[in-house]
Amino acid sequence: MSTGCRNAPVLKERGQREVFCGLTGIIWLHRKMQDAFFLVVGSRTCAHLLQSAAGVMIFAEPRFGTAIMEEKDLAGMADANAELDREVARLLARRPDIRQLFLVGSCPSEVIKLDLAKAAERLSVAHAPHVRVLNYSGSGIETTFTEGEDACLASMVPVLPQTEAKELLLVGALPDVVEDQALDLLARIGVSPVRCLPARRTDDLPAVGPNTRFALAQPFLGETAAALTRRGAQRIDAPYPFGAEGSTLWLKAVAAEFGIAPEVVDQVTAAPRARAEKAVAAAAETLRGKRIFFMPDSQLEIPLARFLTRECGMQAVEIGTPYLHADIHGAELDLIAPGPVLSEGQDVDKQLDRVRAARPDLTVCGLGLANPLESEGLATKWAIELVFTPVHFYEQAGDLAALFARPLRRRAALSGLAPHLEAAE
């Protein structure tokens, strides 16, 4: 059996990165956890990042905010803690619906060594039992984009209740509609009980223990996996549930752990799988034979490259990822045919040189790079859309493929209209 790209050489780069910090995860986490508030302890930059990444869709007060440090907070530690306590008290008084408060560390709070773990302990006592206060780092010096979600979930693990029950824990923040589909599939296969981390509400938090088996729904949850392992839980190794193939392999790995035969999975998933394959095939007409380049961004790059090469007929030129975890990406790498350059880390200008030299049909990149590449005549797909859009499991497989097909179809539709798109070089 081929091991695909598992042992392929990796181009490691350390230069200028063009990627969000872990604070960005708050944008989707605060939607998922409906009674949680995310309080970033940081600077005006952190507040501005959140606002810019969220697109400022303000209809009401969101469940996140930034305690912006000022000159006087930097002067003395005692002040900063007292100020923080005051802001938290005010916030909780105004938002009685909040049951869980995350103090989120930033670069400035880490550089001045503001101890948020201690602050969380102190505030937990002060506001118990109604509100539990946890802390994690979303700082740019410690975390890259989706690592923020990883750090958040990992911070919850030590305080989860203990259990001896054999339960499946589904790990990763999925849109509710996708989570419901996954739970339904698992129930029909016969895997039960199933709990989710994160839970939608604090009262539904799962328990964990030596008989817990957990499956990651996202490929960027290494720290959370390690924390769960420390609690005795065991990880089910599988490719990620992107596309029909990924969803089936993921479900089969879970089923096997619960002593259920693969035939049962085949039977239960036959209809949705057929739907997924049909929907993917429609988009694959546009994608087949096209060359794709992944800039490092969300850590979804490896599973997506697997999906797009195996199910949509695309050809990967370079698969960049901010971090390559042999552990949690191994099952995916096994499935990717050798050929593409695997790169870890970034030196953005050099990488853009490689994009220009390769002239791929589609480049997956961050929002800061998309229009510049488009104006050079290179089609792009924004990586951030992949973490905001429901893309997991069968019913979304067609949508996932369509996300990549749309920029190509759009260019074709406008080809007579925008001469500069082709001209600029």
Binding site: C21, R44, T45, S52, E61, G65, P372
Partner: protein, 533 residues
């Protein structure tokens, strides 16, 4: 420490980026962690730029902190110079780098780069974005401009436009054309469009035209002192201010050339009878100081509105704004706290908001139409069409964009007459907002609507139409503990939605003035008579 939900200004280094991105042939090396690269998307997405901002970030990580962040900074400078060959290099620290005190300016100086290196001091924990623009431009001017002989022809510099500025692109086209018509050469426009070598020729101009005090007042003052160039004080927003600006420029330049104002339609559009319905519309105005003050004058003197509130988020403009608010008989709101702005608007219950993109959202929530007059702005505030705020065409644009969210004059009467017609009822909203029929939504703070990532933020809309007010309940507690009786509440519903807020507010004020604890239908009409004019 201060809790911020949304901010009106970014940190000062974003201001420096706006200056650098507006210019050509300049590069900024920013000592900053990786997450700070988000700022690129402001320019590439919101402004749709087809180039990356000319900014290199050092993107130091935690593991570099104990090691050699200074070395990292120097190699970033060298790489940036080698790759982009700028005519000058700006160097600065973001909030995090400010704390590790590597002294980017000092480091870059020791490198002996063959181009001018301009260090910026940007106190991230005290100042904000506009300061960053103003300071970056000042330092660039100081470093590059020298006193020199004046041009033979009368000429001026246009100062202030930057990347990501609200309508800067079109304002400078409009104003440059006006100056040309007056026989004045534009020596240089900066920062937007200028190269460092253009800035070096700044001193050749006879005077400066300062369009945006927020971003360039310090440079204008410096040039006045050091280069002996006076600068204009009038901001040409609105037809009156544009005429005053022309007079000011004439005084500075000696120009006597006539100016053709036949394109200026706004005064007649405002005077024509259809606009009668605009009389006394209560507007709440909030933005950067310059745009807010200009809008307040236009609203009162050129549209016949009543200014119901006036505020700005930049303290730098607090003093003149307070004076103007006093003159207009309202209390000035000087704050950058979004929740405070929202509360002030709610309390004032205006019929329209002239604000920033944030007030557009406040308007949506409160059911008040809104037009955008100031940064911060979003993708739809960078229209494809020519759409200045300044000069004669700017005055035309103001009329159109401020009137657009409102119900039109004749339509207002028809709505009042046929308010029970099932097709022509008030909940249908203005007929020219096809896709915006308001629905009964009243969101409370605990149930925010779905946020959209910048990725889906491309919705194009001119103004936002308000949703219908909350459904009536049998007795509704009003503010000040006055109770609306069911019959009065029902009568209130019959009043067209665009004046309903005002009627509600006036009636409640009237009731508490009279010491009434309940509002009946009679109270409603007594109040109406009381406030009639």
């Amino acid at each position: 420490m201060k809790l911020a939900v949304w901010t009106y200004e970014g940190p000062p280094h974003v201001g420096a980026m706006r200056v650098a991105t507006g210019m050509q042939g300049l590069h900024l090396v920013l000592h900053a962690p990786q997450g700070d690269t988000y700022a690129d998307l402001l320019f590439t997405m919101i402004e749709r730029r087809g180039h990356r901002p000319p900014v290199s970030y050092t993107t130091f990580q935690a593991r570099d902190l104990g090691a050699d962040t200074a070395g990292l900074f120097k190699s970033a400078c060298q790489d940036a110079y080698d790759r982009f060959k700028p005519e000058a290099l700006l160097v600065a620290a973001s909030c995090t780098a400010e704390l590790i005190q590597d002294d980017p300016g000092g480091l870059a100086e020791t490198m002996g780069l063959p181009v001018p290196v301009i260090p910026l001091e940007l106190p991230s924990y005290q100042r904000k974005e506009n300061f960053g623009c103003d300071e970056a431009f000042l330092q660039i001017a100081r470093a590059l401009a020298q006193p020199m002989a004046r041009s033979e022809q009368v000429s001026c510099n246009i100062l202030g436009p930057t990347g990501l500025g609200f309508r800067h692109r079109d304002d400078i086209t409009e104003i440059a054309a006006l100056l040309r018509e007056m026989g004045i050469t534009v020596n240089m426009t900066a920062p937007m469009g200028a190269r460092p070598s253009d800035i070096a020729r700044m001193g050749a101009a006879h005077f400066n035209v300062l369009l945006y005090p927020e971003t360039a007042e310090s440079a204008a003052r410096w040039a006045e002192k050091t280069l002996g160039q006076p600068f204009t004080k009038t901001i040409p927003i609105g037809s009156r201010a544009t005429r005053a600006f022309i007079e000011e420029v004439r005084a500075l330049s000696g120009s006597t050339a006539p100016v053709d104002d036949s394109r200026l339609r706004q005064p007649w559009w405002a005077a024509s009878v259809d606009s009668t319905y605009l009389t006394g519309k209560r507007v709440f105005i909030y933005g950067d100081g310059t745009h807010a003050m200009a809008a307040a004058r236009v609203a009162r003197d050129e549209m016949g509105f009543e200014v119901a509130g006036l505020g700005c988020y930049n303290r730098e403009q607090a003093r003149p704004l307070r004076a103007l608010a006093r003159e207009m008989g309202v209390e000035a709101l000087v704050t950058d706290d979004y929740l405070e702005v929202e509360a002030a608007i709610e309390a004032a219950a205006p019929e329209m908001i002239l604000g920033t993109q944030m007030e557009r959202h406040i308007g949506k929530r409160l059911g008040i139409p809104c037009a955008v007059i100031s940064a911060p702005v979003h993708v739809q505030d960078f229209p494809a069409r020519y759409s200045p705020q300044m000069g004669f065409e700017g005055a035309n644009v103001l009329f159109d964009t401020w009137v657009h969210p409102l119900v039109m004059g004749l339509e207002e009467h028809l709505l009042a007459m046929f308010r029970d017609d099932f097709e022509f009822h008030d909940a249908a909203g203005p007929s020219h907002h096809g896709g915006h029929a308001p629905q009964a939504v009243h969101q409370d703070a605990a149930q925010p609507a779905e946020p959209a990532p910048a990725a889906t933020a491309a919705a194009a809309e001119g103004g936002s139409m308000p949703p219908e007010a909350a459904p009536p309940s049998p007795v509704t507690p009003a503010t000040n503990n006055v109770i609306w009786l069911a019959c009065a509440e029902k009568e209130l519903k019959k009043i067209p939605f665009f004046v309903r807020g005002k009627a509600r507010r006036n009636t409640e004020a009237f009731a508490s003035q009279q010491g009434l604890s309940e509002i009946s239908v009679d109270t409603l009409y007594e109040a109406k008579a009381h406030y009639a004019r």
